[in-house]
C-alpha cells in the first residue's frame, strides 16, 4: 500500500498575527491512498488544507511535490500542481448555474474568451452523471441544489480538472445518511483509480474507519499522532480525534446532567 508519496509537507507553521494556527506540521500524501486528517474544531485542519491549495501561504516550512520544493502563491499555482480542493463551504457560487460553477475560473473558450457553452454544458452533465447525479438542466442555479448535489458537483469538478490530490474538507458533515454513503462511494471510486491521492477531513469516526488508509491527528495546531491503519490498530482513534482528551466517560458525564 505505502507507495511513493506524491506530496510532502514539512515543519509548516502558520500564524495569523499573534495566533498560531499551525505549529510544525508534517504530512505525507501518496496516490491511491485516502489520508484522513482528523482533529477537533479549530484544530487547524482547514487552515492546513488552505495552505496546500494556495489560499494561505505558510509562515515557515516547506511543501514538496514529486520531491521538488514548491511555493504556491495563489490557488492557480496549486491547481496547476494538481491540487483539487473541495472546501467546507464548497467554493460554489449560489446564483450561478451548474455549468458556470463547474468551470469557474477555468472556462472553455475560443478566441477572445468567448465561452463554448454547449460543450461546457455537455461535459458538466456527463461528469456529474459519472459520479452519481443526473441533471437535465445545467443552467439551473446552484442555490436550489441539495447539499449532497453540491458536494458531488465540487468533487466532479476537481477530478475533471486533473486533480492529483483531491482534498475534501468535511464532505459528509452536512448530508443525510444516504447521501453520506454516496459521497463515501464516490471517494472509494476515486481511490480505486489508483492515481489520485485523497485527503479526507471528517469528524465522523465511522467514516474515517470505513475508507481511510492513513491518519494524521491534529490538536491545537500540532500533530499529536499519525500512521497507517495497521500501525494505529491498537490506538484509540476516538481519543486522538478529540485532541487527546479522554472520552470514555462521556456517557457517564452526559447521564449525570
Amino acid at each position: 500500500m505505502a507507495s511513493k508519496s506524491y506530496m510532502r509537507v514539512e515543519n509548516v507553521v502558520k500564524k495569523f498575527g499573534p495566533f498560531t494556527a499551525l505549529d510544525d506540521v508534517d504530512l505525507d500524501i501518496a496516490p491511491g491512498e485516502v489520508h484522513a486528517l482528523l482533529g477537533d474544531n479549530g484544530a487547524g485542519k482547514s487552515t492546513l488544507i488552505k495552505i496546500l491549495s494556495g489560499v494561505h501561504q505558510p509562515t515557515s516550512g516547506s511543501i514538496y511535490v514529486d520531491d521538488k520544493k514548491i511555493f504556491f502563491r495563489n490557488p492557480r499555482d496549486a491547481a496547476a500542481a494538481g491540487i483539487g480542493t473541495v472546501y467546507q463551504d464548497l467554493a460554489i457560487n449560489q446564483l450561478m448555474s451548474v455549468t458556470r460553477n463547474f468551470f469557474m475560473g477555468r472556462e472553455l473558450t475560443s478566441t477572445f474568451g468567448v465561452l463554448r457553452m454547449d460543450e461546457m454544458d455537455k461535459i458538466a452533465h456527463e461528469e456529474m452523471k459519472k459520479i452519481g447525479i443526473d441533471f437535465s438542466d445545467p443552467s439551473q442555479a446552484v442555490g436550489t441544489m441539495s447539499g449532497g448535489q453540491r458536494q458531488t458537483l465540487a468533487i466532479a469538478r476537481a477530478i475533471y480538472f486533473g486533480a492529483k490530490v483531491l482534498i475534501l474538507d468535511e464532505p459528509t458533515s452536512a448530508l443525510g445518511q444516504k447521501q453520506q454513503m454516496e459521497v463515501l462511494k464516490t471517494i472509494k471510486r476515486v481511490r480505486a483509480r489508483g492515481d489520485i491521492a485523497i485527503i479526507f477531513i471528517t469528524h465522523n469516526e465511522i467514516h474515517s474507519k470505513l475508507i481511510a488508509d492513513r491518519y494524521t491527528f491534529l490538536a491545537l495546531g500540532k500533530v499529536i499522532g499519525a500512521g497507517t491503519k495497521k500501525e494505529l490498530a491498537g490506538e484509540d482513534i476516538r481519543r486522538l480525534m478529540a485532541g487527546g482528551a479522554e472520552m470514555a466517560d462521556l456517557e457517564q458525564e452526559l447521564s449525570a446532567i
Partner: protein, 397 residues
C-alpha cells in the same frame, strides 16, 4: 420507484413560462406601462419625429453610464464617482479645446483632447479600483471620497486655467473633425430619411394656405410632425444623436461579454462569492479594477458626447448622474448584493428613466419634480422585486 432520477423532478417549461420567469420581466413591464402612458398623455407627441430623437438622446446618455454602473454592481461594487468623473472629463476636454494641449504642445484636436482625457480618467478608475481591492474598504466610501475629490478638482482646474467655472461658445468641431461628428453629431440618418420618404406619401396635397384658421394650422403641423415633415414641407429631423451609436456599442459589448465570455463568468463569480471565485482561480482583484476603469470609460464617453454636441461644458455637469445610473441598474434587475443581473434589464431601465425624465417636455401640465417622485417609488418596488428573485434562486436564504 428506484428508476426515478433527479432529472424527472424538474418540470419542463415552455417558451412562455420561461419568459415570464426571466429576471428582466419586471423592468420590461414597467417600461411598457411608461411608453403607453407617455404616448397617451402627450397625445403621441413624445414619439413624433423630434420626440423620438430627443427621447432616444437622453435614454442613450443614461444607458451609457448605467451599463458601466451595472457591470460594477454585478461584480459587487458601487461607483459614486460617475457624476464627478463626467464633470472632470468634460472640463478637461473643453479646456484643451479652448486653451490648447498641456505644456504648450500646441492646438488640441477633439480626438487628442479625448485621448488625453481618457488616459486621465482611466488612471482615476484604476486608482479607485486599486484602493478598493487593496484596502478592502467598501467601494461606497472610497468612491464617495472621490466624488468630493473630483468635483473639487474640476472646479479648481476650471478657475485656475479658465478663470471661470464654465467654457462655452467653443467652435463647432463637427464639420472639420470626423471624430467630433461621431461623438457629438448625428447617426442613423437613413432612419429619418425613410420616415420622411414614407411621410411624403401621406402628405400629398397638404399645404398651408392663407385662409386656414390658427387651430387648423396647429392641427396640420401636428399631423406633419408624425410624418417627419416641418411647416415648410421639408424633412424635419435628419438623424439620432451620435450617443445612440455609443449606447448600442457599449451595451451590446457589455451584453456579449456577460452572456458569452469567460470574463462575463468571472464578473458574475466575483460579485456572487468573492472568496469562492478566488479559490477557483478567478482573478477577482483584476476584474474589479478593470470594471472601475470601465465605469470611468463610460463616464468619459458621456462627457465627450456632451461637450462636442453642445460645444460647451461647466463644473456642474453630471450632477446626480451616479445616483441615476445606480437606480437604473437596480430597476433593470441588478442585485444590490452583486452576482446577478443582465444588460437587457438595464436597457429597459434606461428607456424607462429616459422617457420619464423627458416627460415634462411633452406633457406641459406636469411638474418636472414628479420625475424624482417616480424614481423613488419605482426604485423601492424594484428592490423588493429583485429580493424576491434572489430568494427564488438561492432557495430562500
Amino acid at each position: 420507484m428506484t428508476d426515478r432520477s433527479e432529472s424527472d423532478r424538474l418540470q419542463k417549461e415552455n417558451w412562455f413560462q420561461r419568459t415570464v420567469r426571466r429576471p428582466e420581466i419586471g423592468a420590461f413591464i414597467v417600461m411598457m406601462i411608461i411608453i403607453v402612458a407617455l404616448a397617451m398623455a402627450s397625445g403621441g407627441k413624445a414619439f413624433n419625429a423630434l420626440g423620438l430623437k430627443n427621447n432616444v438622446a437622453i435614454i442613450a446618455q443614461l444607458g451609457i453610464i448605467a451599463t458601466g454602473a451595472a457591470l460594477l454592481m454585478i461584480a459587487g461594487e458601487f461607483d459614486l464617482s460617475i457624476g464627478p468623473m463626467i464633470a472632470f472629463a468634460g472640463m478637461s476636454i473643453a479646456i484643451m479645446l479652448k486653451w490648447g494641449l498641456p505644456f504648450g504642445l500646441g492646438e488640441a484636436t477633439p480626438f487628442l483632447a479625448f485621448l488625453i482625457t481618457l488616459l486621465m480618467t482611466l488612471a482615476f478608475g484604476w486608482l479607485i479600483g486599486t484602493i478598493v481591492v487593496k484596502s478592502g474598504l467598501s467601494s461606497f466610501i472610497v468612491t464617495l471620497a472621490f466624488w468630493f475629490f473630483l468635483r473639487g478638482l474640476t472646479e479648481v482646474c476650471f478657475r485656475l486655467i479658465n478663470q471661470n467655472t464654465n467654457v462655452s461658445g467653443l467652435p463647432d468641431f463637427k464639420k472639420e473633425s470626423w471624430f467630433a461628428e461621431q461623438m457629438g453629431g448625428e447617426v442613423f440618418g437613413w432612419f429619418f430619411d425613410a420616415w420622411y420618404w414614407v411621410g411624403t406619401k401621406f402628405s400629398a396635397g397638404l399645404e398651408f394656405t392663407a385662409d386656414m384658421t390658427k387651430s387648423e394650422k396647429i392641427e396640420l403641423i401636428n399631423y406633419l410632425s408624425f410624418l417627419n415633415i416641418n411647416r415648410k414641407m421639408e424633412q424635419w429631423v435628419t438623424g439620432f444623436d451620435a450617443r445612440l451609436l455609443w449606447f448600442i456599442i457599449i451595451a451590446g459589448a457589455a451584453w456579449y461579454v456577460l452572456a458569452r465570455t469567460q470574463l462575463g463568468s468571472w464578473i458574475y463569480a466575483t460579485g456572487d462569492n468573492k472568496e469562492s471565485a478566488r479559490a477557483n482561480g478567478v482573478p477577482v482583484n483584476r476584474v474589479k479594477v478593470g470594471l472601475f476603469m470601465f465605469s470611468a470609460f463610460c463616464a468619459t464617453i458621456f462627457a465627450t458626447c456632451q461637450v462636442l454636441d453642445t460645444n460647451s461644458s461647466d463644473a456642474a455637469k453630471g450632477m446626480f448622474k451616479e445616483l441615476e445610473a445606480i437606480a437604473i441598474a437596480v430597476v433593470g434587475g441588478i442585485l444590490m448584493t452583486g452576482g446577478f443581473g443582465t444588460i437587457v434589464g438595464v436597457v429597459f431601465g434606461a428607456i424607462t428613466f429616459g422617457l420619464v425624465a423627458n416627460a415634462v417636455f411633452f406633457i406641459p401640465w406636469i411638474d418636472g419634480a414628479w420625475f424624482r417622485v417616480f424614481v423613488g417609488t419605482v426604485l423601492l418596488l424594484a428592490v423588493f422585486a429583485n429580493e424576491r428573485i434572489r430568494k427564488r434562486i438561492t432557495g430562500g436564504i
